[in-house]
Symmetry: C2
Subunit: 228 residues, 2 copies
DNA sequence: CGACCATTTGATATGGATCAAGCGATGTGG
DNA sequence: CCACATCGCTTGATCCATATCAAATGGTCG
């Protein structure tokens, strides 16, 4: 399943190379989770894991960005989350992934064997607590996302921009790694509505759109006011 | 904050009585979390905790049912979850609750001090793992709820009925503890739409509605087909 | 330059919201 | 025990935000 990352795209061959730093087992302690994984490259649009695959690994974005999504029976795609450098993903309840994950851009992902984490967590309460905390953070994100989905188009787009700004912006300029279609599928809207809403926000001077992937936040408090 | 359960309603005085079974500290082991709490009664519509209050306790429904919700700035109320006997709630990311919780019906809630759980988890990896698992289950539920919110009215109502059926039904007959308004706020619809959708499902013989709080699932596969 | 894909813009359709009224059950006071 | 108020729910009529269908524009890469 991990290998699918390779074939669905590109000439990248993510040969699972040993991480540079590897502590002897006795040294594995709280905070060392990140030293337990292997750094793997994924090409744009390649699959990192698929829905219903067994969740044998955890993932941490080192560079690039990732979308998690689910395709509904009627063909609609719902994006559950965008992950940017620093984010951990692949935390799921059971032993199988409930979402798929794809690289939005070329990216480097730290891939960590879940069983190793579990084993470590069984010995080290602090590691267990860290995993709990990571899951709880994810829970909070999903809850916030739920709240998005009951808002109006303007509110959703405004919330999205503010969210991305927090995570990825250099002083007011948000560089979006994802397409309008990705945004639409994240917000539960159509690309047309996303596009129209952006032009609308531009007209009211809340934002600027120098290029389609670059959004300048001119008036954050106006956006926050829309945040309902 | 805990006391609000008492005053906002009824003559019940939830005097924090000691639980019947109380193990000496040395005996507190995995699975004993439930012995660490106090059983408290809450009257219908009374508040169990409020948004932004510090999350000092975890809760487990023993009898009755509970709604968690958030009131948005514009006055709309979004219900995040319904909890029935056996469910744990009040797990939040940080140290403050992000939702409020109210008793839908009179209920009995096991109230557990979070710090006690945390302390125990620090010593006992299995407890920590259990808490992680509980949080992960909650995460899965919220994710499922997110997916609901992008569906059509029919799909949302059908999914809701199937969800409640799994949790609360005695062979096909779902006894709803909550009002149409609660359902509407959970599904991100209006009560009119919920009502209309139910009559519509009744006409297609997918369900029966002997009384407004009792729903008979006549044709689950039809509902599942709607589940998109 | 030309083909292709992403995005924007325009015209129309529609699902669910909103506004408004009717109905049935439950409870209260006479 | 019945008249009446109240509350929760259903049903009806209309409106509106967003979807859908369709076309134009712009940006990128061979």
């Amino acid at each position: 399943m991990l290998m699918q990352g390779a074939n669905s795209n590109s000439s990248l061959t993510p040969s699972l190379k040993r991480p540079a730093v590897r502590m002897p087992a006795s040294e594995e302690r709280a905070g060392s989770i990140e030293l337990m994984g292997a750094l793997m490259p994924f090409g744009r649009n390649s699959e990192i894991f698929g829905e219903n695959e067994s969740a044998d690994y955890l993932y941490k974005v080192v560079s690039g960005s990732v979308r998690s999504y689910k395709v509904l029976v009627d063909g609609r795609r719902q994006i559950g989350a965008f992950y940017v450098p620093g984010d951990i993903f692949g935390l799921e309840s059971g032993d199988t992934h409930t979402f798929s994950a794809e690289a939005i851009t070329d990216c480097k992902i730290l891939v960590i064997k879940r069983s190793a984490v579990m084993a470590l967590a069984a010995r080290d309460p602090d590691v267990a607590r860290q995993m709990w905390a990571a899951t709880a953070r994810e829970l909070a994100r999903v809850q916030a996302h739920s709240l998005l989905l009951i808002k109006t188009a303007q509110e959703r787009v405004a919330s999205f921009l503010l969210e991305m700004a927090e995570r990825v912006a250099a002083d007011g300029l948000v560089e979006l790694p994802m397409s309008r279609q990705d945004i639409a599928d994240y917000l539960g809207l159509t690309i047309e509505t996303v596009s129209r809403t952006l032009t609308q926000l531009e007209k009211t001077a809340a934002i600027g759109v120098p290029s389609s992937r670059r959004i300048l936040l001119r008036n954050r408090s106006a956006l926050r006011r829309l945040n309902a």
